[in-house]
Symmetry: C2
């Protein structure tokens, strides 16, 4: 089977090297025919003319590793319309246009698969699909972003501040010059949207509660350490009684939990099934070979005629911000009061307000009250 | 597709209930036609005549949930010979007769699958198979046994002794009246043999170093706690340069590791791939619905014509006990000395001897010296 790779950066070159150097029977059947890249100098298969690829009838699979919305959206769409399967690691374009791509792929009788877009090298989406064949999924949650975990882990283990840690992450190549997607939630938002699609057959818009982790301080972490607690940056969706609730925010775990034990830039993602209970999947959430590996698995699935289930968007759950009740922690200079508050502690010049078990909607009300007075607030959920 | 279930105990009834109550499209295609069980009273589909099942041409899949070697061996063999796929959770019979079953299944053009036999509800073997399509696996290891983890976790978190904890596990139904398979290694031995087959194409005999965890004491755990260490019962295989090395023994992890964080009777199993790095799979390693779920996944794979790779036993690795070098801890009343020893500490009346980084073969020599003088010794590997 002949394929084309769009983009020859970290991920695209990883895909090429895995296919070219791989020794398995499955990999021997796959040939990279063409690479869409700017210059012929870097790569002997490169072309800068996308039409050469999209119009090439020998190419069965287009592997999109460009990232970003454009021209990825256009290239994916045209590839599907030309009867080519599409594999992508591009969570932004997949999360935004999922319903459109899924419909188009069905119409053209091809596959649109995006394993590598969530959890990098972790076989998360395929296992979520498999679980659904037998079981109901009631919840998905996890550490979906390696950069934010690297930062929180370093702050926790090495008593560092956010800013110096972010700088270190940038120097190591774990964080972008503009870290917003990683620390303000955009990356996790896309990944939980894609997980929601496979777990619950819904394609949701990114308008659920999303709280940045940017304001976390060494003091916050020290405050939690007193109680043997650690904080991680979590995307989570719960489903019950025809309703779903999604959020992206800092979440507080016991220091002996699996989540607290995730080091460096690794990810861990969990599902909770009616029969199977809780399953957790841990590994490298990004990087040339882990992400490249996940893409190549998708290509092998297509070539072997795997029975992976197709994404079906039914959108038959309604959105609710009153589905779960949790204790939350709000750290700011504001001494919140009222019937939603369980306890308040002062620590190093700030108030640490623990709420009673309240809804996400009630939390939004409290946060609205805080953010007018102190924009450097932090909000975190006590995981349960 | 019509299937038969052999045995209607915990696992067999779990399989029946999942298939009967399941709502997915995949499950609707599967019908339990017959159950091999002692009495027709318990179960309306029961028959106590195995020939009724084996000679029934409508039955495509036989699900063996009897456990033990006999009559499971005979029933599996006859089912395969009669052209039926076989799915089993029976690690003992699968580990012992794997090569024979694999060969027989290939000859009869049917599948022999055993996902549930290792890691219970954790989709471990299928992910190991998937990994192999693209990547080399260099190592597998993990907590394969829930009972031993329940005991070690309770000793660690609640400062209990082995005997009282074993009693509690027995009262909760987590441990058998005769706990030998769980605490002396037999269960993990079978599971690592089956993992070896899928990871490395080898079918090995259970003659590798296997050390019981039965002698572990609260003092041992307290000794390790001083150094922020925890101990878990681990099966492990390493492969390098055409050689493999397998062992089952207590292993020492940092208290902030994923392994140390595994609570109660859960399992965690890891693989280390050249491209993918380390992947970890966590969940319920036993129980009616987790194990039942894994079996039903195998049945669905057969019915959907999944492209799961077939087990191929090549046995082209040679065995070595000099492949890895590790620090080991030997606790006994014997003050070992010599060039293999790094340090010795006395703690509450015993010697805790830490070796230099030595081979498994060298360890065997040391243990031989100890066990003549103190049969209540404990040996553990420092994981790395």
């Amino acid at each position: 089977m002949k394929i084309a790779i769009l983009g020859y950066g970290t991920v695209g070159s990883g895909v090429y090297e895995i296919i070219t150097n791989g020794k398995s029977l499955e990999l021997e059947k796959i040939e990279v025919k063409s690479v869409f890249a700017r210059s012929r100098d870097k790569m002997h298969l490169a072309t800068d003319d996308i039409n050469e690829i999209i119009n090439d009838e020998e190419i069965s699979v287009v592997v999109e590793c460009l990232g970003g919305l454009n021209p990825a959206y256009d290239f994916i769409k045209r590839s599907i319309e030309n009867g080519k399967h599409v594999v992508t690691a591009n969570k932004a374009v997949a999360a935004k246009y999922l319903d459109e791509f899924v419909e188009l792929a069905e119409k053209n009788n091809v596959k649109f698969i995006f394993e590598a877009s969530v959890g990098g090298g972790i076989p998360w989406l395929v296992n979520l699909e498999r679980t659904r064949r037998v079981d109901d999924v009631k919840r998905v949650y996890g550490i979906f972003n390696g950069t934010s975990n690297f930062i929180l882990d370093n702050m926790y283990r090495n008593d560092q501040e956010f800013d110096s840690t972010l700088k270190a992450a940038q120097d190591l190549g774990y964080a972008e010059a503009d870290p917003s997607a990683d620390v303000d939630g955009g990356d996790v938002v896309n990944k939980i949207i894609l997980s929601n699609a496979l777990a619950f057959d819904i394609h949701v818009q990114p308008d659920f509660p999303t709280y940045s982790m940017r304001n976390i301080t060494k003091n916050d972490i020290d405050y939690l350490k007193q109680y043997d607690l650690a904080v991680k940056y979590i995307g989570e969706t719960n489903v019950e009684g025809g309703k779903y609730e999604t959020s992206v925010m800092l979440s507080i775990f016991g220091k002996e939990s699996q989540e607290a034990a995730v080091p460096l830039n690794n990810n861990i993602i969990s599902l909770d099934g009616s029969f199977i209970g809780e399953l957790k999947f841990y590994g490298q959430g990004a990087g040339k070979f882990p992400t490249g590996n996940a893409i190549v698995q998708d290509i092998v699935d297509i070539n072997e005629g795997s029975t992976r289930i197709d994404v079906v968007i039914k959108n038959n759950l309604s959105y609710s911000e009153e589905l779960t009740r949790r204790n939350y922690l709000v750290r700011s200079s504001v001494e919140l009061s009222g019937e939603l508050i369980e306890s308040i502690e002062q620590y190093k010049g700030n108030f640490y307000v623990k709420t009673k078990e309240i809804s996400l909607k009630q939390l939004t009300g409290l946060v609205d009250e805080v953010k007018e007075k102190d924009s450097s607030f932090v909000v975190a959920k006590f995981h349960k």
